[in-house]
């Protein structure tokens, strides 16, 4: 997939947002910036603003939800608030929790379902077919192409939703708890799909409760609380923080073990966050003993 790599940098400046009919800021002065191709994990407790931030990156906040908005998000120099959703969707794609509600309900087969966004944005038929085939290949759903979208399992449906977004060839994909409503098998299917996307050089934002996955996939992690940005750093630094309990974040199992053993990576001064890291560190320690 061809992608412009030069300017696709995402800059968020003092972002504030309040939903209609509410009286508190769901996002409160958030600023950060992200390079093209980075994998960003978003963590924090419920109502900390994770979903709102996701929807802000995709432009749904404020252009769908209205409400009150301040600050700005720039993607490739484009100010998200000023771009129509039907234009922005060519640059930024978003996948939601519930796979079922993402099915358009107007198409009879998986193949046609993936075509929906392409038909709307006026992609020529030949190009459309090429992109759908590619997307189905990548998400490993080609075998369901003639099935009715509603007859798929949750995991298959969610992969179809991701394929529908991928086919539009966005530079940025936002995944808002894509696995939270799936069974373990469906989750694994989606994790593998997400890894493939990341390898393709697409910038990814993912909200996810499984901290092991966040730790192993993310280049950097955004920690939110009460609509504010608490920290934005590598998974090692984030998960080595001592105050994670207050933010309702559960530390990955390996980090917890290494904390108990007081085993830090001497290079970074942080606890390891993945099995591999912990293993490396332990074996090194053994050799030194």
């Amino acid at each position: 997939m061809a992608m412009s790599t030069e300017h696709s940098k995402i800059i968020v400046e003092n972002l504030k947002y309040k939903y209609l009919a509410t009286d508190f800021l769901a996002l409160d002065g958030i600023s950060f910036s992200v390079e093209q191709g980075e994998f960003i994990g978003i963590i924090g407790k419920n109502e900390s603003g994770k979903s709102t931030l996701c929807q802000a990156i995709a432009g749904l906040v404020p252009n769908f939800h209205k409400g009150a908005y301040g600050g700005r998000i720039l993607i490739d120099g484009l100010e998200v608030k000023n771009v129509e959703l039907s234009e922005l969707c060519k640059k930024v794609g978003i996948v939601f929790q519930n796979p079922f509600n993402q099915v358009t309900g107007s198409k009879l087969t998986v193949y046609e379902e993936i075509a929906f966004g392409l038909e709307n944005t006026g992609i020529e038929k030949q190009e459309m077919i090429r992109r759908i085939d590619d997307a189905m290949e990548l998400l490993d759903i080609a075998k369901y192409k003639d099935r009715n979208p509603f007859d798929l399992s949750g995991g298959q449906m969610q992969r179809m939703a991701i394929a529908s977004i991928i086919a539009m060839q966005p530079e940025v994909i936002v995944l808002d708890e894509p696995t939270s409503q799936l069974d373990p098998q469906g989750r694994e299917e989606v994790y593998q799909a997400v890894q493939k996307l990341s390898k393709k050089g697409i910038t990814i934002f993912m909200v996810e409760h499984n901290m092991e996955k966040i730790a192993s996939y993310s280049d950097r992690v955004l920690l939110l609380d009460g609509g504010r940005l608490i920290d934005f750093d590598t998974p090692q630094r984030i998960f080595s923080r001592e105050d994670l309990d207050t933010y309702g974040v559960e530390v990955p199992a390996f980090t917890r073990i290494c904390k108990e053993l007081n085993l830090k990576n001497p290079g970074t001064g942080c606890y390891p966050v993945t099995l591999e890291e912990a293993y490396d560190l332990l074996s090194k320690e053994k050799r030194e003993m």
Binding site: K16, Y17, K18, Y19, L20, A21, T22, L25, P62, N63, F64, H65, K66, G67, A68, Y69, G70, G71, K81, G105
Partner: protein, 204 residues
């Protein structure tokens, strides 16, 4: 339920409202199925249309009513397509009344129900006369029709009475159900269908 800067007769529907219409048609259909399954002597097949009208206004309600019967006509009963007119009228009536605050409490809702019931009767009666000679196919209603004809009443009056017997209790039940559902809906959802185009600024 109203306001938020959107005009009552606006034809500009946001996506949420467009998605509401098929859901409302599904609700109509379910109402009919449940009423059938419970062997209730009512149709209860306009709950969705009335909900859509209450939430998104008279035009959305009317479109919902029209689409409902066109689709019903295309799948089960072609004749019901002409009764799209009745459902358009119901959608308009509920939409306007609810905008004027007539769905605020249970007493006003009851009044809405009676008005809507009569609107439905007034539109349906000529259709019944044109297509069926005045009957409705409902046993109780048709018994009244037969009685009225036997009393030498004109066909129109007999058909009107037939339809009143059938429609009025049905619409009262439907509107009260819609009132109950409306009370239970989250505010943010209601705002979704009625939001205008304005985004407030939080910049200093």
């Amino acid at each position: 339920m109203s306001k938020n800067g959107k005009s009552l007769w606006s034809m500009k529907f946001n996506t949420a409202t467009l998605v509401l219409i098929p859901a409302a048609i599904g609700i109509n259909y379910l109402g009919k199925l449940f009423a059938g399954a419970l062997k209730l002597p009512l149709w209860l097949d306009s709950i969705g249309t009335c909900l859509a009208a209450m939430l998104a206004g008279p035009i959305a309600g009317a479109i919902c009513g029209a689409a409902n019967n066109i689709i019903y006509g295309l799948t089960m009963d072609p004749i019901s397509t002409v009764y799209a007119l009745t459902n358009i009228a119901i959608g308009l009536a509920v939409g306007i009344l609810s905008y004027k605050g007539f769905m605020k409490n249970i007493k006003l809702s009851l009044l809405t129900a009676i008005i809507v019931g009569f609107v439905a009767v007034v539109v349906s009666t000529p259709l019944n006369v044109i297509f069926w000679g005045g009957t409705t196919g409902n046993i109780w209603g048709d018994a009244v029709y037969a009685w009225a004809l036997a009393q030498n009443m004109p066909v129109f009056l007999a058909s009107f009475l037939d339809e009143v017997i059938v429609d009025l209790p049905d619409k009262i039940a439907v509107i009260l159900i819609v009132f109950g559902i409306g009370k239970g809906l989250p505010k943010s959802l209601i705002a979704l269908y009625q939001s205008g185009d304005t985004i407030e600024s939080l910049d200093d």
